[in-house]
Structure formats: structure tokens, C-alpha cells
């Protein structure tokens, strides 16, 4: 029987405020068993860019990453946000290790081809180093993954944290019984965005199609849910979308086939 592994993805908002970060790290540190934390950091990158006089351009919820912006996300995601989390977890006795996709060749990607939009230094995932990550997990190390990958030719690429979490979950499903949790601000996927109680308990492909059609589900939720469905299809045991404070419970939206 496969060992259990939890992969928890948390967005920028949670890890960028001291109070919510502290609560998250305590909940995460208390989760039993093997685990991986994947984090965002977009708001910090935007703030840092702005303090240097650079404007952040977003298209379809994704950041346009020119050379100057690549330096900023490498610093902010790989340095500031990642190391703040790692140091915070170490203080709680969790043996955290920060990783970008370049470290141990964890995630190799290719620069996104220019089609309608030139996203710049943005990477589409090619391969997750499953055995390398397993070696670390075997040492009871807790990987903390920043939303950065590399092209194996020396260039770091900016990659969506939801994608990192999804692709890592899919690859590690070869070795573990994986639960993938996407944490965000709401209790789950809501039928009515103004009603926290309107959580969809179970989301299946047919209902997802219907809710997209009706624009109940839209914007940034779509790539998140596409990743979630792809993960379940690829053998991830369970995908859950929920609030960070629900971590460890079954509250939230369960994505299933």
C-alpha cells in the first residue's frame, strides 16, 4: 500500500500577512504524515515591483514577466516569501526545505511559446523530478515549493503555483496516495459568491461544465479547477478546495470524477 502524502497549496494573500501566515504555519505543522507546501506570492511581487517603479501587467490573471520582473519574482518568491515560510516552519519543529524548480531539478519547464500574448519568462511544466522529491521526503524533509521553475539551460521561469501543486501531485501519485488541497479565501467553491454557506460539497465534471457555462465559476477559479480535475484524472486520490483554516478537516469542495 502506498504511503499518504498531503500537498497543500496556499495563495499569496495567506502567506503575505503575518497573522494569517502564522495561523497557516501552525495548522500545516500539525498535519500528520508526509507533506509538501506550495506557495504563491503575487501580491508581494507586485508591491516590490511598484516600490522599484515597475508596473505589474496581468493578462488572464497571469503575470507578464519581462527580465526585470523575472528578477523580482526570483527574489520575492524564491527568497523573501519562501525563506520566511521555511524559517517559520523550522521554528515549529517542521524540517522544511525551500525549493524552486531549479533546486534538485525539481521542476523543468519550457518558456511559454508566444501566441496571442507574450507572457515573457513564464514556464510551462515539462517534468517533475518525482524520485528526487521522494528522496527528500524519505529523509522526513518537508519541501516548501516556490512558484518558479527552470528550463535546464540556466534560466529561471515564473510558473503559476496552482500548476506547480497540480503537476507535483500528479507525478508523486506514482509513489504516494496523494491528497491535494488548494487553500484560498473562501470555504470552497461557492454557488453564490456572496454566501459563504453555499459551498459545493462535491464538484463533478458535468456540474463544473454547467457552472462555467452559467458564469457561476469564472476568472482565476477556472485554471485552479482545470488543474484540480487534471490531477484527479491522473491518479491523485483526492483534491480539496477550501479555506486555509479548514486544513485537516474535510470542509470544502471535493473535486471528483
Amino acid at each position: 500500500m502506498k504511503q499518504k502524502l498531503s500537498i497543500i497549496k496556499v495563495g499569496g494573500k495567506i502567506v503575505e500577512e503575518n497573522t494569517s501566515l502564522k495561523a497557516l504555519l501552525q495548522t500545516f505543522a500539525a498535519l500528520p504524515g508526509k507533506k509538501i507546501l506550495v506557495h504563491g506570492g503575487g501580491r508581494s511581487a507586485t508591491k516590490m515591483a511598484s516600490s522599484m517603479g515597475l508596473e505589474s501587467k496581468m493578462v488572464n490573471g497571469r503575470r507578464i514577466t519581462d527580465e526585470a520582473m523575472l528578477r523580482i519574482v526570483t527574489m520575492v518568491y524564491g527568497g523573501l516569501v519562501n525563506k520566511t515560510i521555511v524559517a517559520g516552519l523550522q521554528a515549529l519543529g517542521t524540517n522544511a526545505l525551500g525549493l524552486t524548480g531549479a533546486d534538485i531539478n525539481a521542476i523543468r519547464s519550457v518558456k511559454r511559446p508566444v501566441e496571442e500574448v507574450d507572457y515573457g519568462f513564464v514556464g510551462d511544466v515539462v517534468q517533475v523530478n518525482g524520485t528526487g522529491l521522494r528522496d527528500l521526503l524519505d529523509l522526513d524533509i518537508v519541501p516548501v515549493m516556490a512558484p518558479l521553475t527552470h528550463d535546464a539551460k540556466g534560466t529561471i521561469l515564473n510558473t503559476n503555483a496552482d500548476t506547480i501543486a497540480g503537476e507535483t501531485a500528479k507525478e508523486l501519485a506514482n509513489y504516494y496516495e496523494v491528497t491535494l488541497v488548494y487553500c484560498f479565501e473562501k470555504n470552497g467553491v461557492l454557488l453564490d459568491e456572496n454566501e459563504e454557506d453555499s459551498v459545493i460539497k462535491v464538484l463533478r465534471p458535468d456540474l463544473y461544465a454547467e457552472l462555467k457555462e452559467k458564469k457561476v465559476i469564472c476568472g482565476g477559479m477556472i485554471p485552479k479547477l482545470d488543474n484540480a480535475f487534471a490531477a484527479v484524472q491522473a491518479g491523485v486520490k483526492e483534491v480539496l478546495i477550501t479555506k486555509a483554516s479548514n486544513l485537516g478537516s474535510t470542509n470544502g469542495t471535493r473535486i471528483t470524477l
Copy 2:
């Protein structure tokens, strides 16, 4: 018999220019056996701080690290410089992994007590996690260490890269036959700073004391050499001070008792 391990420390200047960085990474990647790279990044931190309107204050060659400066060094050392090196080494087939002292609790430190100078968020090394680093080296991982440590209470601390290299070498001398190499701009410790050919081949404690007395050796060389002597005294097999382009040869100054 102990396995051999090379610990190479390179200063900011080398890793912050594309041409010299590229040459260094090629030389480092070609070194046989187990190895660790320790890097600085002070010039980049100064530049980044300046671009954000912050002035860098140095006392005795050490950076005063207030809260804003701590954020900058965490970003620059742990993010930008470290990940640029890691991605560059991966491109050369070297399985690099970036580490701060917080990652796998690699180096625990205490905030330097305020005496004549308040250095701010600067850490004095308390303990290097030798078994943790050995576990990574056993996986044929090549650690790339940024000049940052942590206090195990959640705070990152700025720590001199020479010290990181020296303390790591001393701890790992328990498990390996360690060669510690400090790379800098000159061919070695020079008798006449204007004569690249005046390299002192072997530096012993008595000659060191004499040259300090005569101010032939001064400034930033003193903490570097103090670390070097402490390392040899603590069981490090060999300490060499040389130019990065001499890596792999025996050119340079050998520190011995």
C-alpha cells in the same frame, strides 16, 4: 578512510557578473567528488537597496542589517543570487540545491549581541547540521549555501559567507576529509598588494601575526584568515586562498599550522 569533500567559497564580485559567474560555474561543475559552494552577494544587495532608496551602512566590513535591509538580503542572497547559481549549475549537469541556514535547519545562529556596534539582524553561528548536510551529499546533491542563517525562532539572520564556509567545513570535518577554498580577486595572500606574483605560498600562524603587525594583512582579509586558521585548527585538512580561476589547482596561499 574519510571521503573527500571540497567546500568552495566565492565572493559577491565573482557571482554577480555574468562572465565571471559563467567561468566559475564551469570550473566548479568540473571539480570531481563531493562538493559545496558557498556564495556572497553583498554588491547586489547594496545595488538593490540603493534602487529602493536605502543606504547600505558598513562597519568593519560588515553590513548593518536593519529590518528593511534584512528583507533585501533575504531576497538577494536567498533568491536572486542563489537561484541564479543553482539554475546555472543544473544547466551544467550538477545537481545543485540552494540552502539558507533555515533550510533543513542547516545553520542555526544567534542574533549578535549589541556591544560597541549594533549590527542588527546579524547572526553568529551556533550549530551546523552536519548529519543533515551529509544526508544531502549522500544523495549526490551539491548544496549551494547563501550567507543567511536562522535563529530557530522564525527569524532569518545575515551571516558572513566566509564564516558560513568556515563553520560548515569544521562541522563536516567530522565526516569528510575537507578541503576549504576561499576564492577572491587575487592569486592568493600577497606580500605586496600591487604584485600579483608576490603570493605567500604557505601562511603559518607566526608569519600571519607578523604580517598583521606590519599591516601587510589588514581589513577584510583578517576575518577571512581568522576563519581559515580556526578551520585548520578544528580538523579541516586543507585551507586554500586563491583566485576562482585557479580552482582545481594548488596555486594560491595554503593556510597551515
